[in-house]
């Protein structure tokens, strides 16, 4: 599955996406974020205040406790500044 990063998070990581295969105990989007942070110091530091981020699953914003099974694309979204 694909993980997308946007805006200053993308810049901090020097990449816009990762292709990942999380282990079976990664069941929710929150688990996925925790697993990704454990693999990557830059992401871990950039997400030191996780509450500011929203997550999307297959292009819909969903709660962090949403199940991951079957997801093709998850995005980690810094606070949005549109309009």
């Amino acid at each position: 599955m694909k993980v997308l990063y946007f805006a200053w998070l993308r810049e901090r990581l020097n990449r816009a996406s990762d292709e990942v295969s999380p282990p079976p105990d990664v069941r929710t989007l929150a688990d996925l974020v925790a697993w990704l942070r454990s693999q990557d110091d830059a992401l871990d530091h950039a997400m030191a205040n996780p509450a500011i981020f929203k997550l999307s699953r297959d292009a819909r914003i969903v709660p962090w406790d949403t199940p991951l099974a079957g997801a093709r694309e998850v995005a980690i979204l810094p606070p949005m500044t549109g309009g």
């Binding site: 997308l4 946007f6 805006a7 200053w8 500011i52 999307s56 292009a59 819909r60 914003i61 995005a75 979204l77 810094p78 606070p79 949005m80 500044t81 549109g82 309009g83």
Partner: protein, 147 residues
Amino acid sequence: MIRVTADPFDPGAEANAFQASHVEAGAMVTFTGIVRSRPDDPITALILECYPALAENELAAIRNTAMVRFGLIDAGIIHRHGRLVPGETIMMVMTLAPHRQAAFDGAAFLMDYLKTGAPFWKQEETAAGLRWVEAKQEDDAARDRWQ
């Protein structure tokens, strides 16, 4: 109508076409967001990053909520991404309703929700380089007043 686009658009032409699309409407409100450059802190451009698939879904969801909540006849959102210079139109919200209050409230609701709930990120281009625009607490407060 939801449109997420890198292309410039003409807000006047959009408003006229939108107004002409529903003869049963007695009130229309339009809001246009414009790239601004403050004299004391000028920018040369505003760069909008976007996640288009998510933006279309979330804007459609916000629009549907507003349509039902305010009894709108129609609502439209156009939002650009890419590099825009001061004076250019960033985005536009339009509402059509039988009477003015629903049109005003619907447009304000759409703006307050899309500021914090649609996946766009602004970066300012200045003589000193690029800087990300920080999310504002008052935008969260403006959204929360509708709850």
